[in-house]
Each structure stands twice: as structure tokens, then as C-alpha cells.
């Protein structure tokens, strides 16, 4: 349930322009002669925002990634936001090299710095749940 609520929130962020949309610069018509420079590296990113931008479309409660993981993870562990143990090294490996049928992400889609933030956020989310009685 926790994962579903957060997935709903991050999907809403996407649909309001935070998320995938945040990666694209928008230049108004009147600025065509002198468009603003792109500064993708300056995008503020938290783990939650990165998850919303890059992961949620496959890894929300009903996404393809979640359904695929359900075939090889213990019950209740297929949704990443509910995962009790998700080591940063595994996240980094899966994102950069792909895992199973999941395609990998290039460093222009998610930088090493963003990937580290994402991995740490997912790791930290799992730990309290893992230690809960």
C-alpha cells in the first residue's frame, strides 16, 4: 500500500510536468532567435524525483517491471517502493547495465550522481520497513 500511494504521487508529479518533462528545456516562440541554453546538469533532483522521472512507469504497482519481478521475488517484494532490501550496488548495476529484460539507462539519461542519489533513496526507504516488527 505504501508503494502504491507513493507511485500515485510520483505519477501525478510526472503529469504535472515534474519528472520526465523536467528534462526538456522549453523555449517560447518569441525566443526562437536566441534560445535559452540548456543546463541539464543543473536540474535539482531528489531520489523521489528521479524515481518519478525514470522508474515509475515500469515500477509502479501495475507496471511491467513490477509484474516481471513478481515472477522471481518473494511475495510483496516485486514493487521497488515496497522492497525491504535493495542494495545500492544492485540498483546501480541494473540501471547502467540492465537486468533481466529491463533495458539499461545511459549516463545522459541519468548521471552517475543522480544514480547514486536514487540508489541511496531506495536503500533508505527499505531499511525502516525491514527493521519494523
Amino acid at each position: 500500500m505504501k508503494g502504491r500511494l507513493i507511485a500515485t504521487v510520483v505519477r501525478a508529479l510526472c503529469l504535472t510536468g515534474i519528472g520526465f518533462g523536467a528534462g526538456a528545456g522549453v523555449v517560447a516562440a518569441q525566443d526562437r532567435a536566441a534560445p535559452a541554453p540548456v543546463s541539464a546538469a543543473a536540474l535539482p533532483r531528489t531520489g523521489e524525483q528521479i524515481f518519478a522521472a525514470k522508474c515509475v512507469f515500469c515500477h509502479d504497482a501495475t507496471g511491467w517491471g513490477t509484474r516481471s519481478l513478481a515472477r522471481r521475488t518473494p511475495p510483496g517484494q516485486s514493487e521497488l517502493l515496497n522492497r525491504q532490501v535493495l542494495p545500492p550496488a544492485l540498483v546501480i548495476h541494473a540501471v547502467r547495465r540492465g537486468i533481466g529484460s529491463m533495458p539499461q539507462f545511459t549516463p545522459t539519461e541519468i548521471s552517475d550522481e543522480e544514480l547514486a542519489i536514487l540508489a541511496a533513496w531506495l536503500d533508505a526507504r527499505g531499511r525502516p520497513a525491514a527493521s519494523a516488527p
Binding site: 503529469l15 540548456v38 512507469f57 516481471s68 547495465r97 540492465g98 545511459t106 545522459t108
Partner: protein, 531 residues
């Protein structure tokens, strides 16, 4: 992970010192953090759905300019040192090579950072975008503006709006032949010079994105599925929100009904009653819905026809299933289209079962309208288990029942002979042709299966070419094979190479525009240097 001393596979014959000098120049051009050479970073540019060894198409490095000025410096360095680059936009040409180059040892020219939506013109219904704008980005911006213009999205939204149109991709609205919605480009030639096509060639033009056929030749088509230049900006037309839509599902019972089905659909598509792409799915393609292959069949080879037939019968479905949406901009017009489609099928194909649903402006949108961004189509990749992959054989066939059936029967037979499920969709992108997507679904870690896919694809290339049929697109593994199908005029090849007239023309244009062959050698077989 960036900027390490590691190197990828070098192009045969390329001096390692020249490659190192190119990397140094690339770093000066774009900044060291945007030149990727480490093993992990290079791995991220491999084809995730490789049909065999992904290293066969491994890149030596990747470089990511953010502006046309940086791009010009990169191309100058590539020319100076003889290092070929492989331009990608989002790098999500999944099933056709993704971001990986046709020629192993090329450097991926990653244009993801050139990601501006330069204009969305609400009055005239167009946008001007750079390569790195994904469908996710674009839809989010349309929604943020409350735009009344609709995007024609591709099957999955991870890809680039520009890249999909350049690769002749398909959508499911009246603007679904994406290459036909292109209007005006800015391209950078291999020598670093920028050119604007169409009315963009007029300084101060406000008509660049509004008319495709001004004075002189239309160059836009030359820069699709080619390697003559790097497209840096592209105009694309957008559809005004319709008054109403209807979504049809038509089930046809018997395998032998295909020719009749195609001939029944054709006049409706040709006169624009059906004004968007329709998809005909065969029995195997329908069987995947919500299932894993092992739930249906665990034996050797392709799933037998009788197993598929039983499965479909249990679901109350026919051998063929057609889906499409129709759109109308006139109040009440959609009801006339619905009635005409139903009457036409009643007269010409009474055995078909037709259902439809509808939507009117102001009502909440529904999933069948395919207006939301999505990655749902990825679900098919796991059909044979993980790690899965897919790529397709895509012949273009005149929308005539007898011709379509002839090609379909050959494809189904050869797939089964090669142990692969004949997972076939046929797309009525326009009124006059069907684009087949005969999908090869394989396990990437099964070398016998991927080898069978390669044999199958090449066998079909030879056999459909003998029927006078060509392809609309191909995976990087098969670009030379697909190009070699264009044999008309081969007898006039004075070089003795036996190449057709069109491939020879392509190579002549390539040699003129890119004499160093640094732009995507081998793309669509043009300027191929593969051994």
C-alpha cells in the same frame, strides 16, 4: 564512471593514437564529463535486445554535445581523426538496435542533451523540437500548457519525438505516419555546416513549419532513415483535438478470412472513413495478452496452431483481431463513420464480430484512446522468459488480400520452421499498404534461438525480395541485408558489384556529403564498411 582511460573496441585499421586524439578533442568540444569511455558507460549504449552477441555492435565511446556549436566541433574532430560517429536522439530505437551502432567501434553521438521544445504553435498546429525530446517530455509540456493539440505517440513513450519520425515510426491517430508530419528541418552536414530545409531557408521565415512544398526540392525525406546529416531541429505537425472518437475491435473467425478482411478494410481506410492506423493481429499475437508463453505451451518449437486455436476459442476470439480508432472534428460526424463501418462490414464480411466504444470532447479520456504516455508494450519482451528480446521483420505489402495472404503465409511458415512463434501484426498506416511487424521474440541468452532469428530474417529477406517486396525498417544486424533487397537497375552497375540503382545513388550522395564517411556508416546499408 566517466573519463577513464578505458577504451572500447576500435574500428579495424584505426590508429589507437588517432582515436585517443579524437577523444581528447571531443573533451575539449563538450567537456570531459560528456565523453563516456569507461566499460560501464559503454555498456549502457549496448543493444539491450541484441540478436546474438551485443559486442558485435559495441561502441568505442560516446560523446554528448548540448548545442550545435559543440556538435560542429565534435564532427570536425571526427573528420580530422577518421572516427565514425553514430547519432542517436533518445537512443531508444528498441528492437532495431537501440543506441548501438551498425558499425562496431563507432562512437555514439548522443544527442539527448539537445532537448529543447523550441516552439508549440497552438494556432497553426505544429511544434519545433530538438532530438532529445521524448514523448514523455512532449506530452508533459502539452499538458502543462493545456494545449488543444494532440500528440501522435509511438508504441512506447521512452523514445524521441524526432527520432521516431525520422525512423518512419507509427502512431494511432490520423497523424500516425509520423514521417509524413515532418515539416522543415535544421541539419548539420558532416563538414559542420548548418542547413535549414524548406521555407527555413528564407531568413526570418515564419512559414518554416507550415508548408512542405516550397520552391525547389524537398530535402526532409532525404534525412529520414539515412546518414547524410545530423538532424538538429525538426518541425512536426500536431492534430487539433477532435470532437469525438470511436474505438473499434473486430474479430474475424477463420484463418482463411485474411484476404477478405484486407479487401474489406481497404476502401474504408482509403476513403478516410477509418482515418487512423488499423492493426490486424494474428492468432499468436492475440495469445500473448496477459500471459507468459509457458502458461500456453512448454514443448519444443513454435506453439502449434491447434494449441493457439483452442486458447482463442476459450476466450471467444477469432483467428484475426482488428483494432483501430476513428476521429471526427464535426459534431455528430463520428456517428456517421460508425454507421458506415458497420454497414460496410455487414455487407462484405458478415461473419465478423464488431464492437466499438466512443468518446466525445469534454468526457474523461480512456485507455483505448492511446493518448497517455506509456511503456506498457514492453510487457511482450518477457514472452519467452527473461532475459527477453524482440525485433521484427517488416515488409511493406500492397493492401490487396491476395498479396497480403501470400506474404503472410510465407512468414508464418518460415517462423514455425525456425522454431519461433509467428507473432504477426499488420498495420494499415495508410490506405494502400500494410506494414507487417512479424516479431521475433527470443531469449537473449539462448545462442541457438538468436542464431535461428538471424537465419530466419535473412531467409525472409531473400524470399520476399523474390516476390518484389521490401522492408520499412530493420535492426542494425540486418541493415546490409535489407539494403541488398533493392536490386532494380543492378544490371547497370558498371563497377561489377551488382548493387541496385537506388543503393548506388545513396552511396553517391553519401560520398558527396560525407566523404570521410564519419556519419553513421552502414545506416540502412549506406556507406557500409562492415567486413
Amino acid at each position: 564512471m566517466t573519463g577513464s582511460a578505458a577504451t572500447g573496441p576500435l574500428l579495424p585499421g584505426l590508429d589507437p593514437a588517432a582515436f585517443a586524439a579524437a577523444l581528447a578533442d571531443f573533451r575539449v568540444a563538450v567537456g570531459a564529463q560528456w565523453v563516456f569511455t569507461s566499460e560501464a558507460d559503454r555498456a549502457s549504449y549496448l543493444d539491450p535486445f541484441a540478436i546474438g552477441d551485443p559486442q558485435a555492435h559495441a561502441a568505442a565511446a560516446a560523446v554528448a554535445p548540448a548545442t550545435t556549436d559543440e556538435l560542429a566541433l565534435v564532427l570536425a574532430a571526427a573528420n580530422r581523426h577518421g572516427v565514425p560517429v553514430w547519432p542517436v536522439s533518445m537512443g531508444k530505437n528498441l528492437a532495431y538496435g537501440t543506441a548501438a551502432p551498425a558499425l562496431r567501434g563507432s562512437v555514439v553521438l548522443d544527442l539527448k542533451r539537445m532537448n529543447r521544445i523550441l516552439e508549440i504553435n497552438e494556432e497553426l498546429g505544429y511544434a519545433l523540437v530538438e532530438p532529445g525530446v521524448s514523448y514523455f517530455d512532449f506530452k508533459a509540456e502539452l499538458d502543462r500548457r493545456g494545449s488543444r493539440l494532440w500528440m501522435s505517440g509511438a508504441a512506447h513513450s521512452w523514445g524521441s519525438v524526432m527520432g521516431n519520425a525520422l525512423e518512419h515510426g507509427v502512431g494511432y491517430t490520423p497523424y500516425g505516419i509520423h514521417a509524413e508530419t515532418i515539416c522543415g528541418m535544421e541539419v548539420m552536414l558532416a563538414d559542420g555546416s548548418l542547413v535549414r530545409t524548406g521555407l527555413g531557408a528564407i531568413a526570418g521565415s515564419r512559414e518554416w513549419q507550415v508548408f512542405k512544398w516550397p520552391f525547389g526540392p524537398n530535402w526532409d525525406g532525404l534525412f529520414t532513415q539515412s546518414n547524410f546529416a545530423v538532424v538538429t531541429k525538426m518541425g512536426i505537425w500536431l492534430m487539433p483535438e477532435p470532437e469525438a472518437m470511436a474505438g473499434f475491435t473486430i474479430s474475424v473467425p477463420a484463418k482463411g478470412d485474411l484476404a477478405q478482411l484486407v479487401d474489406t478494410l481497404r476502401p474504408l481506410r482509403l476513403d478516410d472513413t477509418i482515418n487512423a492506423t488499423y492493426t490486424i493481429a494474428n492468432a499468436w499475437r492475440q495469445s500473448t495478452a496477459g500471459m507468459q508463453r509457458a502458461e500456453l505451451w512448454q514443448g519444443a518449437g513454435a506453439i502449434p496452431e491447434e494449441v493457439v486455436a483452442r486458447h482463442l476459442a476459450s476466450r471467444g476470439r477469432g483467428w484475426w483481431n482488428v483494432i483501430f480508432n476513428v476521429f471526427d472534428h464535426v459534431p455528430g460526424g463520428i456517428d456517421l463513420r460508425i454507421a458506415k463501418i458497420r454497414q460496410h462490414f455487414a455487407a462484405h464480411m458478415p461473419q465478423a464480430t464488431i464492437t466499438h466504444t466512443s468518446w466525445k470532447k469534454g468526457e474523461p479520456q480512456q485507455p483505448w484512446m492511446r493518448q497517455e504516455v506509456s511503456l506498457a508494450p514492453f510487457a511482450i519482451v518477457d514472452w519467452r522468459g527473461s532475459p527477453g528480446g524482440h525485433s521484427d521483420f517488416g515488409p511493406v505489402v500492397a493492401a490487396v488480400g491476395e498479396r497480403v495472404t501470400q506474404v503472410y503465409d510465407l512468414i508464418e511458415r518460415r517462423f514455425i520452421e525456425h522454431g519461433l512463434d509467428p507473432w504477426v501484426g499488420m498495420f494499415g498506416m495508410g490506405g494502400r499498404a500494410l506494414i507487417f511487424v512479424a516479431d521475433m521474440l527470443y531469449k537473449r541468452d539462448d545462442p541457438e534461438m538468436t542464431a535461428a532469428c538471424q537465419r530466419l530474417f535473412r531467409t525472409l529477406c531473400r524470399e520476399v525480395a523474390e516476390m518484389g517486396v521490401g522492408l520499412y525498417r530493420a535492426h542494425i544486424t540486418f541493415m546490409d541485408d535489407a539494403a541488398a533487397m533493392h536490386t532494380w537497375g543492378a544490371a547497370q552497375d558498371t563497377s561489377g558489384g551488382g548493387a541496385g540503382a537506388l543503393p548506388r545513388l545513396n552511396d553517391r550522395v553519401k560520398a558527396l556529403l560525407d566523404p570521410g564517411h564519419i556519419l553513421a556508416p552502414g545506416k540502412q546499408g549506406i556507406g557500409s564498411r562492415r567486413p
